[in-house]
């Protein structure tokens, strides 16, 4: 049954639209929805899928959004062109979110009053429950196959090649072969019904293209975990917390595959699910002190709990890697919504004067490369290194460049004095700045019978690690820590500039998961006659390029996903930039930032500034 309350001409778009699925959490929709996105990818059209889910196991609303973009825009766009409304709880808000001329696909088993629809959208009803009840007797099957049935219908409506989905079903149930046939059957049941009863295809269409190339699709948490494997991490200690848990779990999976000694069947890794975040970071620091590469994965509340230990690792100079998959704060905040809100909490973590090294990956590819690099940096700099992911890149599959590795590369274990060097009489002062870069030498415990032992402590000490409360010795050490922090600038990934195609005095600074939305926004702004130079910051302390970029532009927008403009504050504080030089563009409602928002906010801010200062 196809019903259209009034004759509406639907949106006409090929390979450029947004489909959103509204489901009930725990209804088994995730795997069907994932397959939908993947089928379009397999047709060579880039997609950006996003899970929008509650802090709940079963019953609350959940959404899955797929942005289809042949042009390759992977940021959230905002708005919905086709709503697959499977959750009566959220019906009203789902209907409201559809763009004018958009499409609504819904379960028409139970008739809905006309007042529940809109007259500027195309309505496509299909009696999904009725079909399932007729075909299946088991309630769980009715639920699960309903998801596959609507995927079948969507394949007809959007002209997705059925063979692609058939292949994906085969891959998904490989090893559980008896599940393949019933899934194929359900898929075709939905597809056949739509072809027979609905106006197929609709104005939104998927056309085979060649825009995916050799890119891969993976979530940032798994990519970061793989980075940790390649970075040589052997100890992981963690405490479950959304949205970071899947990072530790992915590390366990990869280790089972790549870190079991073939000869003995024993593990070249240790993963401890600790009793809390304090114990997690304590274990990481203990392992780092003793020369193993170690990390923890956590989110904002964990960062708060770990503060005292961060100060110890900073002051005692112990390598540690912390993957912080940020979520909306403060406090418990919105545990399943995204933000970039731990920038300052990490940059200046712990009491006293501290400054920490931060990395900002933009996508899973960088989660991998920075995930591996973080361990070299931590060893080289003998300090905690924070890799700041967020829920948007951590928990969503994102299309990105394939991972690469140079087999000639070796771990940089930093300045570690060996037994032979100690035996030869080399002077060892644990906190002695031998090379002028602020980085001292360390020894692993147990290295030499009589030389190189020292006492590690969070209290102040002199260059030879002897306890002291003498002011000059304390200051000498604190100044060296600053020199070391300065050395980090040359070791971190450099900022990447994306210059506008035309000369401009406008600049934008952004980082992390804002990347795809910013790229797209720059294009939208250029179309509106506002070309803008963009600079993506990839690490803290800031590279000299950042200050130069700010100096080279009349107006600089700092685009980020938190209320207070935390990176902007950090830029002002560290680069001593006049606050008026940096305009705050912030998006912090918990949803991923969009190009529409950025372009709109920058255009508005630019116009206003012109009015104020003609």
């Amino acid at each position: 049954m196809s019903q259209s309350l009034t004759e509406v001409r639907g949106l006409q778009r090929i390979n450029d639209f947004v489909v959103k699925f509204a489901n009930v959490n725990g209804s088994g929709s995730a795997s069907a929805n994932t397959m939908f996105g993947k089928s379009i990818l397999r047709m060579g059209v880039p997609v950006a899928p996003r899970n929008i889910f509650p802090s709940n196991i079963q019953g609350l609303p959940t959404w899955y959004e797929v942005r289809v973009s042949e042009a390759g825009h992977l940021g959230a766009r905002g708005g919905v062109d086709l709503m697959v409304a499977m959750n009566p709880q959220t019906w009203d808000q789902d209907i409201r979110s559809i763009e004018p001329g958009g499409y609504l696909f819904y379960d028409s088993t139970k008739p809905m009053p006309a007042s529940k629809f809109r007259d500027d959208i195309v309505v496509l009803g299909m009696p999904l429950t009725e079909l399932c009840n007729a075909a299946y007797s088991d309630p769980r099957q009715r639920q699960l196959f309903k998801n596959i049935i609507y995927i079948g219908a969507l394949s007809a409506l959007l002209e997705i090649e059925p063979a692609v989905i058939e292949t994906l079903l085969g891959e998904q149930y490989r090893g559980k072969d008896k599940l393949i046939a019933p899934n194929l059957e359900a898929f075709h049941m939905g597809r056949d019904y739509a072809l027979k009863h609905l106006d197929c295809p609709i104005g939104l269409k998927v056309r085979r293209a060649d825009q995916v190339g050799d890119r891969i699709s993976i979530d940032g948490n798994a990519a970061a975990a793989l980075g940790a494997v390649y970075g040589g991490a052997s100890v992981a200690a963690w405490y479950p917390i959304t949205p970071s848990s899947s990072l530790a779990e992915a590390f366990a999976r990869y280790c089972q595959r790549y870190r079991v000694d073939k000869a003995t069947g024993r593990n070249k890794f240790a993963i401890v699910q600790a009793e809390d975040e304090l114990a997690s970071i304590g274990m990481v620091i203990g392992a780092g002190w003793n020369g193993a590469r170690a990390f923890t994965a956590t989110s904002g509340p964990g960062i708060s709990l770990m503060q005292e230990f961060f100060g110890l690792a900073y002051f005692a100079e112990i390598p540690a890697v912390i993957f912080d998959v940020q979520r909306a704060g403060p406090s418990t905040g919105m545990p399943t919504r995204t933000q970039q809100c731990d920038v300052l909490a990490c940059a200046y973590a712990s009491h006293g004067d501290t400054k920490h090294v931060l990395l900002f990956p933009e996508d899973p590819h960088e989660c991998f490369t920075m995930g591996a690099q973080a361990f070299d940096l931590a060893d080289r700099l003998q300090t905690p290194v924070f890799v700041l992911l967020d829920l948007d890149i951590g928990m969503n599959e994102r299309l990105c460049a394939p991972f690469t590795w140079d087999d000639s590369k070796r771990m940089d274990r930093g300045k570690v004095m060996t037994a032979a060097e100690l035996e030869a009489g080399k002077d060892f002062g644990r906190y002695l700045d031998v090379d002028g870069d602020g980085i001292p030498y360390r020894t692993y415990p147990g290295t030499h019978p009589t030389r190189g032992a020292f006492f590690t402590r969070g209290t102040s000490k002199d260059r030879y690690a002897r306890y002291t409360e003498e002011g000059p010795a304390y200051q000498d050490n604190m100044e060296r820590l600053l020199r070391k922090h300065d050395t980090a600038k040359s070791l971190l990934p450099r900022p990447l500039a994306h210059p506008a195609s035309a000369p401009t005095r406008l600049g934008a600074i952004y980082y992390g998961s804002t990347s795809p939305a910013m790229d797209e926004a720059a294009g939208l702004l250029a179309e509106e006659g506002l070309p803008i130079d963009c600079l993506r910051v990839r690490g803290f302390p800031f590279h000299h390029d950042v200050a130069e970029f700010i100096a080279a532009h009349d107006q600089v927008f700092v685009v980020e996903q938190n209320r207070d403009g935390q990176l902007r504050s950090l830029l002002i504080n560290e680069l001593e930039v006049a606050p008026s030089r940096l305009a705050r563009i912030v998006h912090y409602d918990g949803s991923p930032i969009t190009a529409r928002f950025i372009a709109g906010a920058i255009a508005k801010a630019h116009t206003q500034s012109r009015k104020v200062a003609p």
């Binding site: 114990a279 203990g286 110890l312």
Partner: protein, 351 residues
Amino acid sequence: MTFLPKPKLHHPALGHNALGYTRRDYEGAISTLCAGCGHDSISAAIVRACFELDLPPHRIAKLSGIGCSSKTPTYFLGASHGFNSVHGRMPSVLTGANLANRELIYLGVSGDGDSASIGIGQFAHAMRRSVNMVYIVENNGVYGLTKGQFSATSDKGAKSKRGVVNSDEPIDMVGMALQLGATFVARSFSGDKAQLVPLIEAAIRHQGAAFIDCISPCVAFNNHEGSTKSYDFVRDHNQAVNALDVIEGREEITVDYAPGTVEMVQQHDGSWLRLRKLADEYDVHDRVAAMDYMHRRHAAGEIVTGLLYVDPAPHDLHGMLHTVDAPFNALDDAALVPGAAALEKINAGLR
């Protein structure tokens, strides 16, 4: 105060152990604790135990938290790496260190504030996890560095130096260690070196989580009339269940004892524990009976000391995690990094 170097001169006739070290080679810096502090006796017992066991000093890692007890690792084993971490968190730091290199001997030193108050969670979980270590709590029932507040092990009814009576129930760390699965549990008294030294030796030889609750009077704040952790009180109420000797596996066992009075227990590393029973009914291998016995004697006002429980074939964290023999900190790129070819396969699976 600043670091106090200790003169390295020693008596020419000072004895050497099998490695050629003298007892002085196991000492550390001069203690800055109060004269007469029980903790210094424990440091001395650690020095003697390590000397007698012929341990290479640099193969021991000593870790602690914060407090008077946690300062002591500076005062013994000067050739060992030490780590004075943060308050109550020694167990996690030690666990991580142990994972990084299973070949060292790990000595965790803590106090009753550090382990029974702020750090009780980490203490409990380290016991549960069976980390191979010696965990000594230097238990004085008081916060010394902050001038005499009650700690969580202070007995109910105990009187502080200022005359305040403690109204809270004490935490019994031995009872907790037993319940949580520690495979070596002992209690001793800093003033009883004859008992303490062999207990430390046996704990070091034990290849699992070994816990020693060592009552250690605070001469400054908890050694007065009305204290239940003073030298006099502990001496009057101390009931040892056994007396222990540790015999290295390589030594010939020749001494004969009357049957039934001595029990020989072989530990996993080959060392022998020779236990002379002082309490007839006490069975050192029965965890449940040990807990029952502790509670009954405590109710009768006694402080039970000695080796309270031992599992001669313990498991440890590395065993449960099924880790390789090689220390993690010695694994190189070839052992840890899967390489470009494996990554290409991973890429192929993500398209």
